[in-house]
Structure formats: C-alpha cells, structure tokens
Amino acid sequence: MRAILYAPSFVAVMGLGFWAYRENYATQESLRRIEALQDEIAGLRASLSVQRAEWAYLNRPDRLRELATLNFDRLGLLPLEPGQFGDADQVAYPLPPDLPISQPVDLSGALEEQIP
C-alpha cells in the first residue's frame, strides 16, 4: 500500500524538480535577453538623439538660407512676402479638357462649336 503512495510522490517530486530547473534557466535566459534588448534600446535612443541633433543642425536657418541662395537658379526661392497671400476665389478653375477628335465629322462639329 505504501509503495503505491510512494511511487507517484517520488515521480511527482522528480517531475517538479525538473520543471523548476527548466524554469530557472528559462528565467535567466529571459533576463539576459531583456538586458540585451534594453542595451539595444538605449543605444537606439542615443542614436535617435544624435539624429535629432543632426537634423536640427542641417536644418538650421543659416544653412537653409545659404542653400537657397546657392540654388537660386534652379529653385528660385525667396522670402515669404505679404503679396503672396491670396484668397480661394483667386484660384482659377481648371480648363475643360480638349474634346477627343476621332472622326472628321466630330472635328467639324467641334470647330463649329468653338467658332461662334
């Protein structure tokens, strides 16, 4: 009777021990991975701040002004002026597309339409 009780208990203890052993190593492995990830995140953060500083440095107004002057021939950039403000009703509607000309009859008809 006792042997019947002891045998499963012994197996259970062995099983739990093995499970705990594996969990222990899995946890350590996870911690190592987290540390590596955090190092990577910190590195990326640092390079992000470098990129941000570089972006700000490359977009500094002095440099943009010089570039606009250098490339004036191609871009024609000038400072914003009061005269460049406009209203929506100053914008022209797009012209209607030309009529497709497929047959001479259509052509003469279209010509008649255009010439009053």
């Binding site: 987290i34 701040s49 470098v50 941000r52 500083a53 700000a56 107004p61 914003l80 002026e81």
Partner: protein, 595 residues
C-alpha cells in the same frame, strides 16, 4: 508527576499528638506548591521573552542588513522592468514654440589617464600630442611620470579623436562618457539660450549646468528628473527669430551702428516671439567675459534685456495715454507747446530748437514728438500719479523674463522724483529702462490696456493680465501711434497691408562723467502692428547709428531704426500668419442724401 497531598496523614497525626495546629502544615504545603508553580511560570515567561527578543533581533537585523546592502551597493536598473520609463539623468532639451530643437545633448567621451597602468608614457604622450593639438608632449610626459595615478587630459573628444586615441593602444588611457550640450542653430538666439558647462565631474558622468540665459534661469527645471527629460518649449519662433536677426544685422551694418536689439512680442499672451541682441556669439563656444573696458561692449551683453537706456521720445505715448485715461485731456485737446519752456533753471527745447506751438493737440504732440507738449501733460498728471502708472507698467522693477540676466537689469530711477524729473521722464529722459520694459508697455497699449508680463516660455491659452488703462484710452493711443507713421516722424515705417503704428525715440547717450554726447545717440522705434487689431509689438533699438545717404549724417530714429523695423515687419508678418489687410477707411459721419 506525583502529587503531594496538602494534608499528609502521618504529619497531621504527629502534629496533633504534639498539640500543634495541623492547618499550619496545610498552609505550608500550599505555599510550597505555589512557589513551585511560580518558578515554573517565570521560566516559561523568560523563555517566551527570549524567543520574542530573538525574533526582534532577527527582524531588525534583516532590515539593517538590507539597508546596508542598499547603501553600499552600486545602483542598478531593475533587470526585468520594461523600458517604458528609463532613468533619465540627462538635461532636458530646449525647443522653440513649434518643437524645433534649440538645445540638446550629445554623448561624447572624455579622456583621462592612469599613468600607473601605462606601458610607455613617452610614446603615449608623443602620439596624444599629435592627435590633440592643444596638448604639449613634453608637459604630458612630465605629468605622466610624476607619480600620480589619475589625471584628466581632455573634457570632450570627437569620435575621430577617440578612435585615434584607441589606436595608440595604451591601457593607461581611459575614456569616460560625457553628455555635452550643443546648440544646433549656432548664433541664433544666443542671448536667450546663454550656454552651459560642466559642474561637478566624475569619471562616469558629469553635471551639465547652465551658465547664462534661459539655461541658467531654468536650470532646476531642466535637470529635474521628475520631468523625465521632457523638452521645455520656449516662446521663440525659430523662423521668425532667424528673419529678425538677418534683417537687424543688415540694418545695423547699413546704419553703421555698433549694436542693435530687437524684440517681437505677442501682445495678447506676453510671449516673446523673437529676441535679438547684436553683436552676438556662438553659445557652443561661449567667449570669455571682458576683463577691461565697458562690459556693455561685450558680445555676451544682452542689449534687449540687460541694457538700461534712456529710451527718449518713445515714452511720450505713455504720458499722453495716462492723461487721456485720467480724463485730463482727450486726443483733440489743445495743450501748451510753446518752446522753449522754462522751468526753474532748466530750459526744455524741441528737436533742433523748433517750436511747434503755441498750442498743439495731444495727438499732434505725439505725431510731431513735442517735448514741451509732453512736459505740460506730465505736469498735469503730477509726479505721484506718473510714478504709479509707470509702476503698473513694470518700469520700477526688473522684467520677470526667464533669463538669469533679467533680475540684474533694474531700471534707473531719479533719486528724488521732483517736478523736473516728471517733466524729463515725460519725454523719456531721466529714467533708464531696458528695451524689454518698453516693449511690454507698448504691448499693454496694444492689448487694449491690459498689461501681460512678458515671458520666454510658451503659453498655451490666454494669459492673465492687469488692466492699466481703459480700452478706449488704449484705442486712442493706438490711433495716435498709427498717425505717427502715417503723417509723423516715422513715415518710413509704413508697411502696406500691416498698418504699423509706433513712436520714434532718439536719446543722446550719457557720458560717463555726466552730460551727454553730441553725436552719439540711441535710436528706438517702438511699434505695434496691425493697428486695426494689434497683435504684435516690435521694438528696434540701434546703438550709435548714423545714416549717411544724405548730405549731412542723420541720426534720428525716423531715419535709422524705423526703416529697419519696417523691413522686419515686412519679413516677419507673413511668417506669423498675418494676412495683409486694407485698412478700413474711417466711416463717414455725414450721410449724403438728396431728393
């Protein structure tokens, strides 16, 4: 346990036989039994106390040991924590109002040496001197070999230099990480930003502390870990600041001035949109303060905030506005403007000895910039009320701007505010204030008479202010300022579509020993735009300008500061999103009708 009877028969019988009281035996036995019981209880209680003691010793011992471990061990970030909230020991960034970077940190490395670990100090010194031009090989060898075990070589290394030092391959040359403050926009807004340097330094890190400007004034906020490194947004607009700086620099050169300052303020919120002082400097490479001569000539000197000057005729609108506000006059009232005016032993004259009198309307006092007319208005107001009004506009205290230099710029007031002080202050002499003070006062006029303290931090939403004059008075003052531009001394300040209004001021520079220079002036143009619905106040000051396009050199503000200010308005107003507007014509009071 055998239980002894209380009344053992044998002893009772023998006692009875001896004629003694057998009860004494019983009592004796009870006493003995109680003593035994007591001893047992005591032992048990002592045992319990001992256990309790042990428990307390263990508990407190554990707490103590844990505290000792925490205190003695190197701090570590929790390994398993998520990276959501990193420990942020860095200094927060500074951005402009739209989030564009003004100051940030860059990770570099410092170089130090441990000569005891060095393999070949002479070679290391030679190669270091080749990499770092500011180091001398002989001096380095001397320092490496004098027996010390630690020395700093360089605070900040570029990545290339660091690689080169790595390539020397000496184990005694070591690196420590260093956060370094950089200002990507260079000289732009240099006086606002100030600069930063290292505070307490260790091998593994160093404090970055502000040395001037906003960096020093907001040092505690920028370094507060509770803010988690959130950037601090200033009220400056980088684009507008750049445009103002460019125009002002050109204007300063064209007008042959030795210095210049400009302030652009949002009148509703008190935010300073642009603040320029020229000459300026690069905060990445902050120059040393001057050790001799006038500190006001140093590029470090912030003319807009630190400099206190007699700002001249720009003060006249203040006295006119107060007189209107008190109900003493209205803009059309005629006041005595007969020049020269004699007061005691003083003689008050107009510009170039003119006489605009004998009578001049209050509006024309401002338009023609009459000293005598302003003096009479000042006398009508009286010194006490004038002081109270100037105090409410902030002229008695340093400006509350978030710059470490601001509290030092205390206005210079007359020691005794006599009638002659009242007269001279009415036209801007005898009281020195910083351009920032004046810009804030003009902003109050433009803001419908509500004074909003100027700030360099972005304000989201409307700002609380103090009413210093009625709305009608403010509107009348704005109308007078507008007329100065349309038909007065600032006619060059007209910018089509933006209805600039403003007042010129030409003040002679005081000599060190007393008296004034004949040919050195400070020209100020304080303006607001658009006059139809004022949104911005702009102040331009030029130091010792002279305009030489004519036959005689011209030194009045109308010829120097005003065109510069007009160009600034022309450039910045579109950037601020202001649409040019045709001024509404004054409505015709007479209705034309006919049958």
């Amino acid at each position: 346990m055998t239980r002894t009877p209380l009344r053992p028969l044998a002893r009772i019988l023998s006692a009875r036989a001896r004629g003694e009281n057998p009860d004494t035996i019983e009592r004796e036995n009870i006493r003995l039994r109680q003593e035994v019981q007591r001893d047992r209880d005591r032992t048990r209680a002592q045992g319990r106390l001992l256990i309790l003691c042990a428990a307390f010793v263990v508990a407190f011992g554990m707490i103590g040991a844990r505290m000792g471990v925490l205190a003695a061990s190197v701090p570590q970030e929790p390994r398993a924590a998520t990276s959501g909230t990193p420990i942020n020991a860095g200094r927060a960034d500074l951005t402009d109002r739209n989030g564009r970077l003004l100051a940030t940190n860059l990770l570099t490395h410092s170089l130090y040496a441990n000569p005891r670990l060095m393999v070949d100090p002479a070679r290391a010194a030679r190669e270091l001197a080749a990499i770092l031009p500011d180091q001398d090989a002989a001096a380095l060898v001397k320092r490496f070999t004098d027996g010390r075990s630690f020395l700093w070589i360089k605070r900040k290394l570029s990545p290339e230099q660091m690689q080169a030092v790595h390539d020397i391959g000496d184990p005694g040359l070591l690196f420590g990480p260093r956060e370094m403050r950089i200002y990507p926009n260079g000289r732009l807004a240099a006086h606002v930003l100030g600069g930063a340097s290292f505070g307490a330094e260790g091998v593994h890190s160093a404090e970055v502390i502000g040395t001037a400007g906003v960096e020093k004034a907001l040092d505690a906020v920028l370094r507060d870990p509770a803010n988690e490194g959130r950037p601090v947004a200033l009220s400056l607009d980088l684009t507008v600041q750049a445009a103002v700086q460019e125009v002002l620099e050109t204007g300063m050169r064209m007008m042959n001035a030795k210095g210049a300052a400009a302030i652009l303020m949002d009148v509703r919120t008190g935010e300073v949109i642009a603040l320029v002082s020229l000459p300026d400097f690069d905060p990445n490479d902050r120059p040393q303060p001057l050790v001799e001569g006038d500190p006001g000539d140093s590029p470090l000197f912030n003319r807009a905030v630190q400099g206190v000057y007699e700002l001249g005729s720009t003060f006249k609108i203040l006295v006119a506005a107060q007189a209107v506000d008190l109900g003493l006059v209205n803009p059309e009232s005629m006041v005595d403007a007969n020049a020269p005016m004699v007061w005691g032993k003083f003689k008050i004259k107009e510009f170039e000895g003119k006489n605009y009198g004998p009578l001049l309307s209050v509006t024309d006092v401002i338009v023609k910039s009459s000293n005598v007319g302003s003096a009479h208005l000042g006398l009508m107001i009286g010194s006490l009320r004038q002081q109270a009004f100037l105090k409410s506009l902030g002229f008695m205290d340093p400006t509350p701007l978030e710059l470490v230099e601001a509290p030092g710029a205390r206005p210079l007031l007359p020691a005794r505010w006599t009638d002659i002080s009242t007269i001279t202050i009415s036209y801007g002499h005898g009281l020195s204030a910083s351009p920032m003070h004046l810009a804030a006062a003009y902003a109050a006029i433009a803001n419908g008479g509500v004074y909003v303290a100027p700030t360099l931090l972005r304000r989201d939403g409307p700002a609380e202010g103090i009413r210093v004059m009625s709305e009608e008075t403010a509107a009348a003052a704005v109308s007078m300022l507008r007329q100065v531009v349309t038909r007065g001394t600032a006619s060059l300040g007209e910018v089509e579509g933006y209805a600039v209004g403003g007042k010129t001021g030409t003040a002679d520079k005081p000599r060190r020993g007393g008296g004034y220079y004949k040919d050195k002036v400070i020209n100020t143009f304080a303006s607001i735009f658009p006059a139809t619905d004022p949104r911005y106040a702009l102040l331009v000051t030029l130091d010792e300008p002279v305009e030489t396009s004519g036959t005689v050199p011209r030194r009045t503000a109308g010829w120097t500061s005003v065109p510069v200010a007009a160009e600034i308005v022309r450039r910045t107003a579109p950037l601020l999103g202001l649409r040019p507007e045709i001024e509404p014509a004054p409505s015709d009071p007479v209705t034309l009708a006919r049958n």
